[in-house]
Symmetry: C2
Subunit: 144 residues, 2 copies
DNA sequence: ACTCCAATGTTATATCATTACATCGTTTGC
DNA sequence: GCAAACGATGTAATGATATAACATTGGAGT
């Protein structure tokens, strides 16, 4: 059985910090938010993140060099691909999993004999809300 | 018209270095290979890379913090999504563009009202050749 | 109590990227 | 021609991200 071991104090604090944040946080941003809890060095954060990344409770957004708490940790203990949409204006992140996207990559990998271990799927742009706000802003500037 | 301006000396050197390399190179690795050409500071590399990334002649692999020359620069002056498969053993990179993958992301974006600006699509694992070699190696270790 | 092992604490260092400012050469307007 | 404007370049310093190395602590198992 060996149910997944409970999180340690440091891991819990880091996960809480990420869960509470609305936007992705860098390791050093996490560190700053945990100084009150006694955190003093980057390694305390990175070590906790290592475990959290291993168990899938946290994801790293390579394009941002930042970390987010998983939106649905219960779901993908498995192996399915996860993708992220990142709003450049508000910093919001939407995590989604699309089996059809995975199928396409699998098809490519199959054809090439490539064995996939990890994937980085991130799209950056403007979320629906920021898009609307941007359009409204332009309209104002244009004197409409 | 304004045909795209010719590359400057620094840009040319950086692009040549990336093209000659078999694996992705970090900015500092590029710098080291160009010291003989008079390069002395990271900024010389980063500035050249900025332009090369803009024009699509070079890509950054976020998951590696490294850069590669584009495999088919003529093709995507346009806007289509590009994906990369990265072998963790030999460092090889395969650049491919799959309209079906793009269609899936577009479908998601359409549904959410998300406006895509840039994408990061990278899969890491073992290429066909390294996979075979790994299998052979295991066989040897097992005494077969 | 003793050993083992994982987590933690601490310092230093490695790696990646940008800011700030000076210089040089070309183009543009006069 | 000349000067302003601009882009590319050179150089130094700094910021931001991540890891190495080593000491210490605190159970779990014997
Ligand atoms: Zn997740
Ligand atoms: Zn937004
Ligand atoms: Zn390309
Ligand atoms: Zn390989």
């Amino acid at each position: 059985m060996t149910a997944k071991p409970a999180l340690t104090r440091n891991q819990t604090l880091v996960l809480q910090t990420l869960t509470a944040a609305v936007e992705p946080l860098s390791a050093y941003a996490i560190l700053d938010r945990l100084r009150g809890e006694g955190f003093r060095a980057p390694l305390q954060v990175y070590r906790a993140l290592d475990k959290l990344l291993e168990t899938g409770l946290v994801h790293r957004l390579d394009s941002l060099k930042a970390f987010v708490a998983c939106s649905h940790p219960h779901e993908h203990g498995g192996e399915e691909m996860v993708a992220f949409a990142i709003c450049e204006t508000c910093g919001g992140v939407w995590e989604f999993s699309d089996s059809k996207i995975e199928d396409r990559f699998s098809a490519w990998a199959e054809a090439e004999g490539f064995l996939t271990r990890t994937t980085t799927l991130e799209i950056s742009g403007l979320c629906s809300l920021c898009r609307q706000r941007a359009a409204a802003g332009e309209a104002v500037e244009a004197g409409v």
